[in-house]
């Protein structure tokens, strides 16, 4: 299954590049946009942003559909069935389940929310299911492969699994439409967010962060995209106090998600992947890993970590489960300690979107240099923590290769 996901790597990579350009460079609220006033001197910056957004929308934004295609194709191939047909059926089936359109004045607007990379796990599962359907009802590979005259025949032979897939997809689609009609999907999302939106105590912040990284490892960040929306009240409280006092040392809630997870737990995206990339580039013996890491490095600086998740892959890779879910927590623990010992103030001020990981805390503390140094040291510690796992992975891979030979 991981192998199917590696195929998606180039799309994730280009998508991530486009996303970084759109969010960090070309939007007014983005990091470069705010700091260098890009909108003031770059002509047509809005048009450029839309272009990059379109590019990212059709790569990252359609990744789950592509994932369903790959999963169905690979599963069917594994059982020696017509894999092309299975792939197409998987992609269309997944799209149908979550299809939702509204007619507007200019045509039809399709909701893309469930097609983007947050729902990758669901897409892969649907694709797997379709692949299994082809195993039971589909034709075997050799019956479909050869004669071009038989192509039509091939299409007819795949009729049954396609019909079954579409039937079930339509049923799920109807069920989902009812849920949506009753706004239950929104209630669930809100309920989950409210659950995490309790008082920003240490256990809650840590628990929510851990849940996020675990789900991230599964490739499922849909309803629990751990945004700064969560614990928003505390963040406003903190900001209010800090603006009145002129500094953030006495913030009433020092251990918010912004203070800990977003400032110290996400260098390079979920799972502190920037450290892994540095580790791979410096230490890896595998040329492929180094290449993937080099390509993924630029977006990862701006916390877009999806390419490396698919490229190595980290997603659903048991070897990386421990570091991926625990290193962010270790970072948060160290940061909480540093705040408790008053080495640095809590992060309370707003930070532009797409700020490079180690700079988030620096900006969010109104330029506290202790926070900057602390962020960079955390990065070094993370590289050291990822090191044994990089070695372990390489040894395991080598072993597997030997066994295969």
């Amino acid at each position: 299954m991981q192998r199917t996901l590696v195929i998606l790597f180039p799309f994730a990579l280009f998508g991530a590049f486009a996303q970084v350009f759109a969010a960090s460079f070309l939007s007014v609220g983005g990091f470069f946009g705010s700091i260098f006033n890009v909108d003031a001197w770059l002509p047509h910056y809005e048009a450029l942003r839309v272009l990059f957004e379109d590019l990212s929308q059709l790569t990252l934004g359609m990744l789950t559909v592509a994932g369903a295609f790959q999963a169905a194709k690979y599963t069917a191939k594994y059982y020696h069935k017509d894999d092309q047909m299975a792939g197409l059926t998987g992609a269309i089936g997944y799209s149908l389940i979550f299809f939702h359109h509204t007619t507007t004045e200019n045509g039809i607007a399709v909701e893309m929310r469930y097609y983007d990379y947050h729902w990758l796990l669901v897409g892969v599962l649907v694709g797997y299911g379709v692949g299994r359907l082809f195993r039971r009802f589909g034709q075997s590979e050799d019956a479909t492969a050869a004669d071009p005259d038989l192509i039509l025949n091939r299409a007819f032979l795949a009729m049954r699994p396609i019909l079954i897939t579409l039937f079930w997809a339509l049923i799920l689609h109807t069920g989902f439409a009812f849920l949506r009609y009753a706004k239950i999907d929104q209630y669930i999302t809100m309920g989950v967010q409210n659950l995490a939106n309790q008082k920003a105590s240490l256990p809650v912040t840590f628990g929510a962060a851990w849940l996020t990284t675990i789900l991230g490892w599964f490739g499922f960040t849909g309803p629990l995209a751990y945004t700064s929306k969560i614990s928003e009240i505390e963040i406003w409280d903190n900001l209010d106090m800090a603006l009145s006092k002129g500094n953030s040392w006495q913030a009433p809630h020092p251990y918010t998600a912004l203070s800990l997870y977003h400032s110290f737990g996400t260098f390079g995206g979920t799972g502190a992947l920037l450290a892994l990339l540095i580790g791979l580039i410096l230490l890896s013996r595998s040329r492929n890993s180094r290449l993937v890491a080099q390509w993924s490095f630029f977006p990862a600086i701006f916390n877009a970590g999806l390419p490396i998740m698919l490229g190595i892959p980290i997603l659903l890779n048991p070897l990386f489960f421990l570091p991926f879910t625990l290193i962010p927590l270790i970072n948060m623990g160290l940061a909480a300690g540093a705040i408790a010992l008053r080495w640095m103030p809590p992060v309370v001020y707003p930070v532009p979107a797409g700020t490079p990981g180690p700079l988030v805390a620096f900006i969010g503390t109104n330029g506290n240099f202790a926070a900057l140094i602390f962020g960079i040291s955390l990065l070094v510690i993370d590289v050291l923590l990822y090191w044994p796992f990089i070695r372990l992975t390489e040894n395991v891979n080598q072993h597997l290769r030997k066994e295969a030979v």
Binding site: S244, L282, Y349, L359, G364, N366, G367, I376
Partner: protein
């Protein structure tokens, strides 16, 4: 060429260190502009956050200009002795703004009146004026850094405010505390709410954008039993379909009798009273400190402990 070859023969380790130091350099290099940005940003936010100014921003009705409220404001100043300063803005149709008057630096509650070059009646003009008002408001907010304000709209000025609130007011650092509209025809000249004008229908459709912490007072005048000689009371009352249930409070007040004619409303002492009571911030009076008290104090719950 030789140099190039030599460089290519460098061991990987050197490359790795070059790479790492480049990355560190990038982070540190970006740290300086980040520092400048966050300092400026936080300073601006703190200025706004700690600002004590809470202006009353007023919009006159159609075919009136920014001097429409002059005598009203003079009367208010004569009554509450707060010496509110007055800034008048004339907004041209191309968006340029001419200001007359000024805001006294220590004035916590200045009046700002925004008039338009195109001050014609009609829904499409209201929409244009609301857009222009949005631009003027942004400039005001940037220049004076207030974090809250009160709104006052006479006649169509209240419509401009409604359109502004639904489409152009999106600043999360600024709260609109109260809005008072006087004689505002939310359904234009329609006598019945069963015939909704396009404008009212649009206002109701987009009411979700109106701040939920806003307190709204809609004041109607009636000379007879159903209008103020220009605006039907049913049209003023139609404001409930927009604000009621969406804003934090929506209060409908009807002023009757002498001087309840549409244009005379602004000189009506009752309106003046409503404004000072509901729209303006309460005047802080320094309680007189008495050192001697007798049994005959007005407040019977007073204790005789004078040392407090």
């Amino acid at each position: 060429m030789l140099l190039f070859k030599k460089i290519r023969q460098w061991p990987k380790l050197v490359w790795h260190w070059i790479f790492l130091s480049l990355f560190l350099l990038l982070i540190v290099g970006l740290a300086w502009p980040s520092y400048a940005w966050t300092q400026a940003n936080v300073k601006q936010m703190a200025t706004r956050h700690n600002s004590k100014m809470s202006p009353v921003i007023m919009i006159p009705g159609s075919s009136a200009n920014e001097s429409r409220f002059d005598s009203l404001i003079t009367t208010i100043n004569n009554t509450d002795h707060q010496n509110h300063s007055l800034l008048r803005l004339h907004v041209y149709s191309d968006g340029t703004i001419k200001a007359t008057g000024s805001i006294r630096p220590d004035d916590h509650e200045p009046f700002i009146v925004v008039g338009f070059e195109n001050n014609a009646d009609g829904y499409d003009n209201i929409q244009k004026q609301a857009k222009l008002f949005g631009q003027a408001f942004k400039q005001l907010a940037k220049k004076y850094n207030f974090n809250n304000f009160k709104g006052f709209g006479h006649s169509n000025g209240g419509l401009i405010y409604t359109d502004f609130l639904e489409h152009y007011f999106d600043d999360d650092q600024i709260t609109m505390k109260r809005l008072m509209t006087v004689g505002t025809p939310y359904n234009f000249a329609e006598n019945s709410t069963s015939r909704k004008t396009q404008m009212l229908a649009d206002f109701i459709k987009d009411r979700g954008a109106i701040p939920t912490d806003l307190v709204v007072y809609s004041v109607a005048g009636t000379e007879n039993y159903d209008n103020d000689s220009i605006v039907p009371i049913k049209s003023v009352a139609a404001g409930k379909y927009i604000y009621q249930g969406q804003a934090a409070q929506y209060t409908q007040i009807t002023v009757t009798g002498k001087m309840a004619q549409h244009s005379e409303l602004l000189a009506n002492p009752q309106i003046l009273d409503l404004m000072t009571r509901y729209l303006l911030d309460p005047v802080k009076t320094n309680p007189k400190k008495t050192t001697t008290r007798t049994y005959h104090d007005d407040d019977p719950t007073n204790t005789l402990d004078n040392n407090k």
